[in-house]
Each structure stands twice: as structure tokens, then as C-alpha cells.
Amino acid sequence: MEGHSTLLLRIALGLYSFGLLDSLYSVVKQRRQLFRPALYAFVLGAILHALALAASSIEQGRFPVQTLQQMSSMASFFMTAVFLTVYARFKYESLAVFVFPLVFLLALAGALGGESGAASRPMLQWWISLHVALFLLGYAALFLTCVASIMYVIQERELKSKRPRAFYYRLPPLGKLDEIGYQALAAAFVLVTLGLIAASVWAFAKWGSNWLVDPTIALAFLTWGISFAMVFGRLVIGWRGRKGAYFSIAGCACAALTWVVNSGAHTFMGQ
């Protein structure tokens, strides 16, 4: 079983590498001739990746988010799923330039370590696995918001400069970037909120309230706070356009920081 999931993940990784190739080619050559084959490889990769995750789920009896490797793998799968969903709707190839490499790198991180770490630590309860999975999916959506915001800033500058250069022709319209960014943000907010609720309920039941002082937990709440502020700013105050995009990018950077600091188990878990 374990062999199966590892093998499937490695094949998926191989397929994702087409995406990396496409991204590099389009940055260097300014052409998207490889996009179609890369997209098909990605769809196939995502299917195999899903099978790999299902295989490890069955094997372990819970979401495969027990180790850092597994989390990376899960995150890369979510990223692919989010991208394919958005692509199916909007058909903007330029999003892939950002998404493809990250998916590849996360899948690589997931495939490299194998399953070794799993045994060294007690398994996470499925309740807390759910918390991790929700957060990962939320991060994937947030990353998309970030990509859309970066593109927004670039395209906005092209339009304001009135001297269209390469980006003007290649990037999607502002209105669509705004729509993608906002919808992804709203989804991320809901997911992070649910993830946080899942974790809090579980932690209160287990440890009472002393876990709240854990610095990584504070960061997790900060991520939630940022995404809340982003949604609130957009909905209530009407933050959008360039400043809104800068704010989104900053928010995503904070969230990425949380991910880096927080991706291991929280410190209190060992207590």
C-alpha cells in the first residue's frame, strides 16, 4: 500500500515537471507553446496524486497530513485542484506560470522524504488532521489570491502607463483578476475559519486554554485575522484596485510566514 502511494506520487511529480518546464519556457521565451501538453500532464498528475493520497489515507486510516512531507504533498494537490477549477472557469494561462512551479516544488518536497517520519510521532487525531487539511486548502486559495493580486498590480501599471508592453498582452484583464482574487480570498477565509474552529474545539477539550499562548498559534490566529481584514476591507470599506492588491499581497506574505513557522506540529503538542 505504502509502495503504491509513493510510486503514484512520483509519477504525478514527473507529470508536474511538464508544468515547471512550461513556466520556465514561457518566462525565458515569452511563448506558451508548451502550455497545452503541460495542462494535460497536470490533469493526469492531479488524478494520480489524488489516488496516491487516497491510498495513504486508507493505509493510515486518516488524512495523510501527519508529516511535513505529507502536508507538502497535500498542499500541492490542493493547489492543483484550485488552479484547475479556476482555469476551467476563466481560461487564463498566465496564472499557471506562478502555480505550476510551486505545485512542482511542494510535490517534490512531499515525494523526497518518503513516509519515514510517520512512525516517529504519535498519529494526529482525525479531528486535528481535518484542521490541517482545511488550513492547507485555505493556503492554496490564499496563494491564488496572491498570484491574482501580483498580476493585478502589474496589469494596472501597464494600463496606467498607457504604453502597453509584453505584460499588457499576456495578463488577464483587471476586472477578472479582481474577481479571481476576491473569490479565492473569500474561499480561503471560510476554510481558515473552519480549520481554526476545528482546532480550537479540539484543543479546548484537550488542554483547556494554556495552548493559546503558543507563539505559532498566535500566528495562526494572525493569518485568520489578516484574511478577515481582507474580506472585511473589501466588502465593507470597498478596498479594491491597486491598494487592495498590495494589501492582499502583504496578507498572503504573512500567511506564508505562518506556514513556514507553523508547518511542524505546534510546540505544546509534545507536552
Partner: protein, 418 residues
Amino acid sequence: MSIQLIGMNHRSAPVEVRERLAVSEQDAAELARELTLAPTLDEALVLSTCNRVEFLASGVRGALREQILRRLRAPTNGAGIDEGALYTYTGGDAVRHVFRVAASLDSMVVGEPQILGQVKDAYQRARDAGALGGQLDRLLSHAFRVARRVRNETGIGKMAVSVSYVAVELARKIFGDLEGLSVLLIGAGEMAEAAAQHLHGAGASHLYVTNRTMASAERLAASCGGRAVPFDRLLELLQRVDIVLSSTGAPGHILSRGTAQGVIAARRNKPIFLVDIAVPRDIDPEINDLDNMFVYDVDDLQQVAAANMRHRQGEAEIAERIVDDEVEKILSRIRSRNAKPAIVSLNKRLEAIRKGELERFQSKLSGLSGEQREAVEALTRGIINKVAHHPIREAKRSASDPRSRITVDDFRRMFGLD
């Protein structure tokens, strides 16, 4: 049989010369049919547009040029046309030219979409007139596929190069799709009206028209299907609409930066696209510095049109590579199509010679036994096969190899197969 083309375009001849050769669509098909009446020409097509007059034919090499020059020199044509204004292409070059024309790479405005329709019309009419046979038919069908490929794989026709369309393109870049957007027309100006029509055609659903004099606003609104609104409601409208086309005769700005700040705040930062077509300008250009407000004046639009033009040129280079690729494809197809019948007719011819010779010696061979007769049959057949073996192999090879120096035509000529 070779494909040949003779013609003139906007680069080779000025309009005074082109117009003397130009014919109407109907006459073009008639002329094509007439050309095919010449024993040396099998098929013909005539394309006549405001930028080019071209004759395309298949037949004996050089026959088309001869036919056309004879027509030009005919006394009915008045003073003859300078031959230097004409270009002639044969074989692969003719194929390439047809592909480039269909893909709009040879157009005055590279990438303009009309030419493909014009070629398709000329093709349809020539076909209906019975002037096309297999070869040109296949060539043109292939040309249409090439044009489609160029359109799909390059951005050659995507970006607007005329100012009123640039406004539409920019609106698309700002809003995404224009479905359901509303447009405000301030003042009356031809270009603003044209842009409003284009925007409407692209999906913008509401059009408001305002003017200092309500009567002219009403007149314009009636003519372009909009709603006239009194000028004093301008501010209120600016808070609602998405695209503004302004072309009043006002001496100064009708929208200042300060007012615009209030407008965008009232819109809660919903983006607005302000197109200022008036000279002197109606809208303070500094408004462009405000977030979510995009101001373009006439020069800006022109600048975008020029950039699009340069972009097209870049895309055209990619398109040229696609054309090269397709020329190669069709040439090797034509060659291999030509090789098969040539080989068949060579075999037939050799067999006829063999049979003829045997017949000639019939009386002298009458004394042979059945077995000896069979031996003579085998002997003669063997000689033929051995002699024909290498030429046939070469013909097949030349058919599949575009760089081969021997063509199937050479092969036919060598064995007198026509």
C-alpha cells in the same frame, strides 16, 4: 503541371496601376473561367481587392504569365501596364504567397481580418464557375486552414489598431467582459459615437447621452439607441456608469481632479474608464493618478494603437514560421501525390513497349515452344523491371524529400510520360 501566381499588391504598384487591372467579384470568376479555356492552363482563380489583384493557376510552367501579359498588351487595355509592377511566383513560392495572403501577412495592415473572407469569396465564385480542379482546390482549402492556425496560435489579429476599437480593447482589459456595463457619452463627436457603437456591439448594455443642450442629447440618444440625460445630472451619472466617452467643445476641463476624487469615493472604488476624445481635453489628465480611474486621451489611444501594431509585427514573425511549416507540408503532399500516377504510367508505358516489340517479332518467334515463349516473356519483363527499378526508387524518394533536386515533373519529362 505547376502552380503559378502573378499579381500586384499595394507594395508593388500604386493604386493608379492596380485599379486598371482590378475587376469586380463577378468578373473575377468569369475571367478565371476564361483563363482555364487556354489549353496550357488547367485551373485558375482571380482575386481582386482594393489592395491586390492576383491570378493563380495550375498548368504548364510559365503559361499563366504568358496569358496575363498577352491580356495586358491587348489594345483594349489602352496603354500597357508596366511589367515591373507585377510579381510572379511558381511552385513552392506561389504556395507560400497564397498562404501569406490568406493569413493576412501580406496585408497593408498586417493581421486585418477581411482578406480571408475575400479569398474565400473568390474561391467560392471560381469554384462555382468551374474554374477550379483538384490541385488549386486543395491548395486553397489548405490556405484556409493555415489562416486559422495563424489566428489561433498567434495574437496577430487580437489587438485593435484603429483608435475607436482601441477604446473597446482597453475597456476589455480593465473590466474583463463588457456584458452589462453602462456607457456615458458626453457631447457629440464622430469618434465618440463610433466607440460607443463598438462598445455596444461588444456587450455594453446601457448607453446614456448627455449634452449642454438637452435637444441635441435627445437627438443623439434617439439615433444610437441611448437615453438622454440632462447635463446637470452629470455627477450623479459618473457615480453609476463604467465607461465615459467625452467629446464636448468645452474650452476647459469639465471634470477636475477634486471632483473625480469625490466620484471614486462615492463609487466605493468601483473602476471607471474615462475616454477623453475632446481637443482641448475635457478630463483632467491627472485623474489617471487616482486609484481605479483610468483616463485615456486621443494621443494615449493612438499610442496604444501603435504599440498594438508593433505587437502584431512580432506576432507576424511567428506566423511566418507557421506558414513555412505548412508550405513544407503541402509541398511534400503534392509531390507524393504526383509520384504515384507518374510511376503507374511509367509501368504502363514500359509494358506497352514490351508488348509492342514482342508483337513486332511475332512471326520470327512463332517457332518457339511454349516453354521457350515463357522464357522470352520472363526475359523481357526482367529487363524492363531492372531498368525501371532505380528511376522509380528515385521518383519515390524525390516525392518525400523536399530538398531533392529531381522533381516528379523531371521524371515525367525524362520518360515522356505526359
